[in-house]
């Protein structure tokens, strides 16, 4: 436990040290959402219609952006091999690292999304649906993405694999999420969609850490 706590603290303070880099997904997110009205035209109805899709796509892209860095530095400077040799259960350690990543680079997106939802003229129920789906849905991206990143950290070529692994997860996620927001815009229930996303989340939470740990061990060979 002590070891995991130390890892948590260290990763958080590393994140703080490199906070400029951490801003990246956030700025990227803001960028997307600023550029869209400029590119698409500022018509409130159009914006409202495409708004949830834009925010979700932007969130997915931003989370991809930082993901590659998740194990790269640790692999290159040898911290990863020291972690593997430390006796801390590797799956748990992987989970901690993914958690820190989510906390520092995705949670901020969710926190500022009300502001952006305003810009895109979303209504309040739509906004709440958006936040709920983001809160449950984005950890899935981080968890599954981390498997791909772990598999390729030694090879230095994560790109394709990352996309291939993530695509089958993205599509249902996006469909359920936007359908939830749509239901909300029509004042309907959307707990069904939330439940499905929640199930996906629990499933990946249970299995992904072991896959990540295995991938990291393989990277050392």
């Amino acid at each position: 436990m002590n070891g995991l706590g130390a890892l948590l603290r260290r990763d958080l303070s590393l994140a703080y040290r490199q906070r400029a880099e951490l801003m990246q997904p956030l700025l990227f997110f803001i960028l997307v959402i600023t550029l869209f009205p400029l590119g698409v035209g500022p018509e409130p109805n159009t914006l409202k219609m495409i708004g949830p899709g834009v925010i979700w796509v932007a969130a997915i892209l931003s989370s991809l952006l930082g993901l590659e860095r998740l194990f790269r530095d640790d692999f290159q400077d040898g911290s990863l091999e020291q972690l593997i040799l430390s006796g801390v259960p590797l799956a748990a350690a992987a989970l901690v690292k993914v958690f820190v990543h989510w906390l520092t680079s995705i949670l901020p997106l969710i926190i500022i999304s009300p502001l952006l939802a305003l810009f895109l003229h979303l209504t309040e129920p739509m906004y709440w649906a958006l936040v709920f789906t983001l809160l449950i849905g984005t950890p899935i991206l981080s968890l599954i993405g981390a498997i791909a990143v772990g598999l390729t950290v030694g090879l230095n070529r994560g790109g394709v694999l990352l996309a291939l692994l993530l695509l089958p997860v993205f599509i249902p996620l996006l469909i359920f999420a936007t359908s939830a927001v749509e239901s909300a815009s029509m004042q309907l229930q959307y707990s069904g969609q939330l439940a499905i996303i929640g199930a996906m989340f629990l499933f990946s939470l249970a299995l992904a850490p072991f896959a990540i740990a295995y991938a990291l061990r393989v990277s050392q060979t």
């Binding site: 002590n2 070891g3 706590g5 130390a6 890892l7 603290r9 260290r10 303070s13 590393l14 040290r17 490199q18 530095d73 640790d74 290159q76 400077d77 040898g78 911290s79 091999e81 020291q82 972690l83 593997i84 040799l85 430390s86 006796g87 801390v88 050392q220 060979t221």
Partner: protein, 209 residues
Amino acid sequence: MAVLSTQNLSVIKRDRLLFDQVNLSVDSGSLLYVKGPNGAGKTSLLRVLTGLVEPESGIVFYQDKKIQKCGEDYATNLVYFGHKLGVSGSLSAVENLQYWCDSHQVKVDTNTIYQTLEKLNLVGLEDIPVASLSAGQQRRTALARLWLKADAKLWILDEPFTALDVQGINVLSDKLIDYLSKGGAVIITSHQLLELDYPTQELTLEYRI
């Protein structure tokens, strides 16, 4: 009971057999010096001994138990120091060492870390990012682990003398002798002649094409 021993180890890299049938055994208080030219497979051997890499065939035993079966027991009794330092450049020396100790279940307080860094001639550099230290100073930072985890049963050191100046080499050599005479076991590689005043077991790997 040997601290570490192996049975018929062999390792293949890129279809090339680096070595096979390596049987070694390191007891408490003894020093194994792995020699060999560049590319002979010293680093590969050491990484197999730590368990980071699976050998092609053969078994590594820690206290007569397969290392895969030992779980945390082996981890808490081992220090591995490889070509890569395992310190992150954006954290300071103290932060790096504090994290390393915590994650390796070593109990130290910050004072001890400062004192260790003082022994290693890093006074005044404890709190700046490691990336802005000189090459030798970065390695000293990583080597401080040997002082902090001196109750481990086994040290596996891959070229620990690299980039150290004469004073650094002396400090480290003294530490090694001190550790060995207190019953520790050391497996070491070095291209600089190892001039330790201590009985040395040697293992020479050849460079096979």
